[in-house]
Amino acid sequence: MKLTVNSKETEVKDGCTVAGLSTLLTLPEKGIAIAVNNRMIPRTEWENHVLQPGDNLIVIKAACGG
């Protein structure tokens, strides 16, 4: 199924969880947060949160700023 990660179309297997996506994309283990359809998903829910076709994900990390 297709979904978008930071506006980029991404193909994942049906039933893929947020944790699965994190592994697939080799996201850093620390210092990031993931939102699905503008709702932040706590890391403790990554294993159980099953992604749906068309989901819109935002993945953020630290940046320099004042």
């Binding site: 210092g31 947060a33 990390k61 630290a62 320099c64 700023g65 004042g66």
Partner: protein
């Protein structure tokens, strides 16, 4: 010097540093350490999926430093709450520099949305340090909403223009019962010293250090200025004369008579 206390946490340094605009993360880290600061801001951005860049976070995570994630880039209270939740998850802290400036030209904070977001974020358990207009009425409202500090601007972000809002900052400092952190526009150590002499509890500096010829030296200069200004405030400054007539500090009589 008295320690700064925010939301029950003690700080030895009254200088906060922003992390934007440095030429490299290594230079930024060196400046942070030279400044002696214990509060450092961090922003957020979308990760690139083939990201290979140096992780800035590892340069600012030190045992003595409180991370202060900001909400830069949000335009409304609703977006600020979302950004705050992302920041808390990513950086493991509930401290937050709330900044809502929808206008990219002047980057001036939106007071209505800032107050609304403060109320909601306090309810959600965040320690909220709102960047705000130097508006004494607004600062009292933010305080009543549960803000841990108020952070009124001295001048627009990045302008280095110093305490353009001086008279309002004085009123804010006089009225506040939470720490007042002068944020934005501080362009020289003398500006920071002046804010501290006025009784500000801390200063947040970024551009003036990051774009200096030698940022590490400038960080040290700001450290010294903030300490000097605070010491002077605590020592009690002499009254400013009301007219031009001099007042001798040496005896003018006797020894030639």
């Amino acid at each position: 010097m008295k320690k700064l206390i925010i939301a029950g946490k003690e700080f030895n340094s009254r200088l906060f540093l922003g992390t934007g605009k440095f030429n490299s993360n290594a230079l930024m880290e060196e400046a942070i350490l030279a400044s002696g600061c214990e509060m450092v801001t961090v922003a957020m951005k979308r990760i690139e999926l083939d990201d290979k860049e140096d992780d800035m976070l590892k340069h600012i995570v030190h045992p003595h430093i409180q991370l202060l994630p900001n909400t830069s880039g949000v335009r409304t209270a609703e977006e600020a709450v979302f950004a705050a939740q992302m920041a808390r998850e990513a950086f493991g802290t509930n401290w937050l520099k709330l900044e809502i400036h929808p206008d990219p030209r002047y980057l001036l904070p939106d007071s209505v949305e800032t107050l609304k977001a403060t109320e909601e974020l306090v309810r959600l358990g965040f320690v909220v340090l709102p960047y705000c207009q130097a508006d004494p009425t607004l600062c009292k409202q933010l305080e009543e909403a549960g803000a841990a500090t108020v952070m009124p601007l001295a001048a627009p972000i990045g302008t280095n223009k110093g305490l353009q809002t001086r008279d309002f900052l004085r009123i804010i400092i006089e009225q506040a019962s939470v720490p007042v952190v002068v944020d934005a526009g501080i362009g020289a150590p003398s500006h920071a010293a002046e804010a501290m002499e006025m009784g500000a509890d801390a200063c947040l500096v970024n551009t003036a250090i990051a774009v200096a010829g030698r940022p590490v030296e400038m960080a040290t200069a700001f450290k010294e200025a903030v300490i000097a200004g605070r010491r002077a405030y605590e020592a009690g400054l002499g009254a400013v004369g009301q007219n031009l007539i001099a007042s001798a500090s040496s005896p003018l009589t006797s020894f030639l008579d």
